[in-house]
Symmetry: C2
């Protein structure tokens, strides 16, 4: 927890925590973390995009030494809390420190990774750090520009990285046992269940749409109700339809986060209403069905009200199921520390989404106060964090037993 | 109609019609109109605020000569149509021209007034011209400032007016027969009824409120539907309640013209939703009842959803009933030209609202294409305008008969 405080001191902005990719603040946070890695007996290096990687060697190192990856990210959103990302790196570090303190080495190496860009605050890309790490980064991302016009490629060079080496950056993970990420929940489920930690079953897929209703603007005083084609009334019906559709289907969340009307005057009937739609569920087929249902309902509402509607998809990502075997080992570690095993869905995205392209993934969620994240009020308890570290200790031991050659 | 075209040529902006109070464009439109007034045998003057007044003398002029007021306004909204306001002045002028052409004088003077500020585009005041004319202008209005920081008092001086004389500006209307205004309907009712003109029964009163729902912002992926306090969903329910409440009550119009949500991000559940409410009806008691009903329903919605709501009145004006006797004379004039008499409510405000403080008022609406106003597409037909002028001719004759001393 003290280390979380130390990392939170490295920010681009005085008085609040903001740590984007390629900034001196992130570099400073990495330097501090690298020091702790070395203190835990790890060999430290940076990959071509600037992810920080510490390796705690296996009991027998060789060409084919298997490795287990633990980690999360060190970049933040603007005006962030101090646990989103950092906690996962530091829990992993604490678990390795436990091995080091017992002078224990496992039949596999433990790599702790601190990804350099997960939030995408600077270049608006998704999982730039972990995608580069896994060799799945679209080269087009190198042309993304920040608000100052600096390209991602330039930013990579500015931190002594090498954008040209990215396609080759993919480590040889021929014997990668898996990737396990600890993260704050960012939601209220564990708090409601009154448990400190939970095992993530899946990371939800997500559909993003822009929906625009087009009616007819008119004078608020002179157009009778029966002659109106009010775009906002159509949008309001749709907002409630979205809410009802999600409530009717277990695990679905659907959100209208933005809405704007034109002309947008107090005394003018809205002629257009534009809104955003965000639908998430762990099962891609369920999510697709909900989106199709909502598109149909939008058209029904529009037809009945004699207005136009256009639904435009603006992005989607499929759900990622956590690996059943790896998650079972994690769940047994939770039981081993005397906690009930609660499985829950992650509605937010994580580096584990990118890692799933390469290896089995599992995630451990830590209860956070009020479900608040991406906000300075983000908070976890020292007791819950200590449970998480204990779980990781047990998990490493269990993985060691699992990976022992059968006698 | 040609005169409407000529007036539309006097604008502050090239390519579109904008004519605010106190601008050279308005002054030029007044000069042209003053010339037409003189041509119709009228004596022309400006009052201390700059309203243009032409007097066509009575058959016998004296100290106690009664007068009938006809008119409308010459200022416009931004990017206006060319009939809103101007048409009423020019129909009145045409009717007086008819008297002049027949060398006819009535037992009362006919005053044609072209008010200098009805739309309130420059100083955001309501009926500044006609309120000054009737001596009901709040002196505080003189401190209103335009976007350049110029006060209304300074603007009055810049057009050779005299803000200090305003309290005394009220003419002695000891024998004012009434005020009759011709105006485009600005709505679709006459077009739907397929009649060229209509007699206004009343000008609706108006209630304006700001309504703000306050819930709890949250992550669109991690907060389950059952735990949300989504301010936009509450607002959407309210928007539909507003629509339903107005539809259920004859003649009520209610509009949510603006809505904004915070934080307003695609992946964040809205924490607050602020909207405007505009409710109009000719009967103040009905309007007040609708507003109270909607305030109650807003609270019910908020309570059920565990969100906060605040309803803040930001302005109201009472309805104005057109004078039954004056309107009856106008209706008979409509019958006299062979038109069916259709009575309709004015949902928009007019100078007649200010004049009602002083004299009986009546209004004649002219059908406009598609109900469109405050837009360059504003349009009336030459046939409908000619019907309106004919009605005014008949109306003047009828008023002359009515005002003749009983034998």
């Amino acid at each position: 927890m003290e280390r979380c405080d130390v990392l939170a001191g490295h920010s681009e902005e005085p008085g609040r925590l903001t740590r984007r990719y390629g900034t001196p603040a992130l570099r400073a946070a990495q330097e501090v973390t690298a020091g702790w890695m070395r203190g835990a007996g790890m060999a430290v290096h940076r990959d071509p995009i600037g992810n920080l990687i510490g390796r705690y060697p296996a009991s027998t190192e060789g060409r084919e030494t298997p490795a287990l990856l633990l980690g999360s990210h060190l970049d933040t959103v603007r005006d962030a809390g101090q646990y989103d990302g950092a906690l996962g790196v530091l829990v992993a570090l604490a678990a390795v420190q436990g091995l080091r303190d017992g002078d224990e080495h496992l039949p596999f190496a433990v790599d702790v990774v601190a990804f350099a860009d997960e939030e995408g605050l600077r270049f608006h890309g998704a999982y730039l750090g972990s995608r580069a790490f896994t060799g799945t980064l679209d080269p087009a991302a190198l042309s993304l520009r920040d608000v100052d016009g600096i390209t991602f490629a330039e930013a990579i060079r500015s931190v002594d990285g090498d954008p040209d080496a990215l396609p080759a950056a993919r480590v040889d993970f021929s014997d990668l046992l898996g990737y396990v990420e600890t993260h704050i929940e960012q939601g209220p489920v564990l708090e409601a269940l009154a448990v400190p930690i939970g095992v993530v079953s899946a990371i939800a897929g997500q559909s993003r749409l822009d929906v625009r209703f087009g009616g007819e603007a008119g004078h608020a005083g002179t157009v009778p109700m029966t002659r109106r084609r009010d775009a906002l009334c159509a949008a309001a019906e749709f907002v409630l339809t979205v809410e009802a559709a999600a409530r009717e289907r277990a695990g679905v969340v659907a959100t209208v986060g933005q809405i704007t009307v034109e002309p947008g005057a107090r005394n003018v009937v809205p002629g257009t209403a534009a809104l955003t739609l965000d639908v998430r569920h762990e099962d891609d087929a369920v999510r697709d069905a909900v989106v199709r249902h909502l598109e149909l309902r939008a058209r029904e509402i529009a037809d009945r009200r004699d207005v136009e509607v256009a639904c435009r998809p603006v992005g989607a990502s499929n759900g990622v199921r956590c690996d059943p075997d790896l998650s079972a080992v994690l769940a047994r570690a939770v039981e081993a520390v005397g906690c009930p095993v609660r499985r829950l869905l992650s509605g937010a995205g994580h580096d584990a989404v990118a890692l799933a392209a390469l290896a089995p993934v599992a995630m451990l969620f830590v209860r956070c106060a009020g479900g608040i994240s991406h906000h300075p009020a983000e908070s976890v308890s020292v007791e819950d964090v200590s449970v998480a570290i204990e779980v990781m200790d047990h998990f490493l031991v269990a993985m060691a037993h699992r990976s022992l050659p059968v006698a």
